[in-house]
Symmetry: C2
Subunit: 192 residues, 2 copies
C-alpha cells in the first residue's frame, strides 16, 4: 500500500545486518490510525471467507491483530512466548527461532481458544524468514483448524519467508514488501 | 462499567491465590469490540486534557492502549521488558517487580518517543499492587513529561495499588474494580 510505503520511507531506518527499524509506528511506538486502516484492508481482503479467529504472537503483532479482529467482528488470540518448555496438556505449543533476538522460544496458546471449527487468519507486524508465521500455522494445524490466510504489515521480501508461503499456496496479504535495502539507507519496494 | 462487570462474571475465573483469570477477552484472547468501547470511554474521560501520548507495557496492555490511541488520535508507546539491564543512553529505564511471574524486569522506552512536552495517559489491562503503573509513571517523569491520568480495564481493588494512586491524586479511570473474590468463585465489584 502506497501510504504505508511512504511511512516506511519517512520514519523507517535501515541498520547494518539487513535490519529495518520501523519502531516509530509499528513495533515500539504504534500509529493506531495506520493500524486501523490496515485492519480494515485486511477485513476486505478476507471478506466472505467466514473467518472466526485472528491469531498473532506477542508482543508487536497484538496491535494490528486487534484492529483486524475489530473490523472482522471476531476475537483475536495472541500466542505467548516462553523460554521454558510448557508441557501442559491445556495448550498447543511449538518451537520458534527468533533471528531478531537470536533465541529459541516455545510459543503456546490455550486449547480452549482454538478449536477444529476455527477458520484462522494469522497476523503479524513483520515477516522475514517466516519463523513466527510458520510456528503459528503449526499451532492452527495442531488444533485441527484451518488457516484461511496470513496478513503482514511489512514483509522483508529478500529474506524469502513470504515467497515460500506463496509457493505453498498460502493466501498471503503483505501491505508492504521490501525487496532491497541499500547501505546508504534506500528502500526498494516490490511492485504490486 | 456494567457490561465489563458482566463479562468478567461470565468468562472470568477465580483461582487460588487471589488470581482472576480473564484471558478469554483481555490478556490471551482479546475481545476487540469490548476493547474498542473501553478505548472510546477513556477518550471521553480525558477529553480536553490535550493528551499527546498513550503509554503501556508489553504484552497485554497493547490492545487496549491501541484502541485508546485510535480514539484520541495520538500515538501509543509500549514499554519493553528485559531481564537484562539496558543501560543504553537512548532509553529511559526503570525496574519493575512482576508478582504474576515472580520476576524482576527492567522496562524501557526509547527516549525519542517520549519528550518533556508530552501529556501522557498510562493504560494497562490490570492493576493490582500498582508495580507496572508506577514503573511507567517513573519513565514519564524521567522524560520530564506529565502524567495526565491512568486508565485500567480491571483493577483488583483489594490489592491496594489503585487506592494508593487515588490518595496521590492521580486521575485513575478503572472500568471494573474487583473488591472481593470468594473461594467459591464469586466476584464482588466496587459500586461507582
Amino acid at each position: 500500500m502506497e501510504f504505508l510505503e511512504q511511512e516506511i520511507i519517512k520514519s523507517g531506518k535501515v541498520l547494518p545486518g539487513n535490519v529495518l527499524k520501523v519502531d516509530g509506528f509499528i513495533n515500539h511506538q504504534l500509529d493506531a490510525q495506520i493500524l486501523y486502516t490496515l485492519g480494515k484492508e485486511c477485513k476486505e481482503h478476507f471478506d466472505g471467507k467466514n473467518v472466526t479467529k485472528i491469531l498473532t504472537i506477542e508482543a508487536s503483532g497484538i496491535a494490528l491483530a486487534s484492529f483486524v479482529a475489530y473490523h472482522m467482528g471476531v476475537k483475536a488470540l495472541f500466542a505467548k512466548k516462553s523460554q521454558t518448555s510448557n508441557q501442559s496438556k491445556d495448550v498447543y505449543t511449538t518451537r520458534v527461532m527468533s533471528y531478531t533476538h537470536n533465541k529459541v522460544y516455545d510459543i503456546f496458546v490455550a486449547k480452549q481458544y482454538l478449536s477444529k471449527d476455527d477458520k484462522v487468519v494469522i497476523v503479524d507486524d513483520f515477516l522475514a524468514k517466516g519463523e513466527a508465521v510458520n510456528g503459528l500455522m503449526r499451532l492452527v494445524m495442531e488444533a485441527g483448524a484451518e488457516v484461511v490466510g496470513v496478513c503482514i504489515a511489512v514483509e522483508k521480501g529478500f529474506q524469502g519467508g513470504g515467497d515460500q508461503l506463496r509457493r505453498e499456496g498460502v493466501d498471503l496479504l503483505s501491505f508492504a514488501i521490501v525487496d532491497e535495502m541499500t547501505d546508504d539507507g534506500k528502500i526498494k519496494f516490490r511492485k504490486a
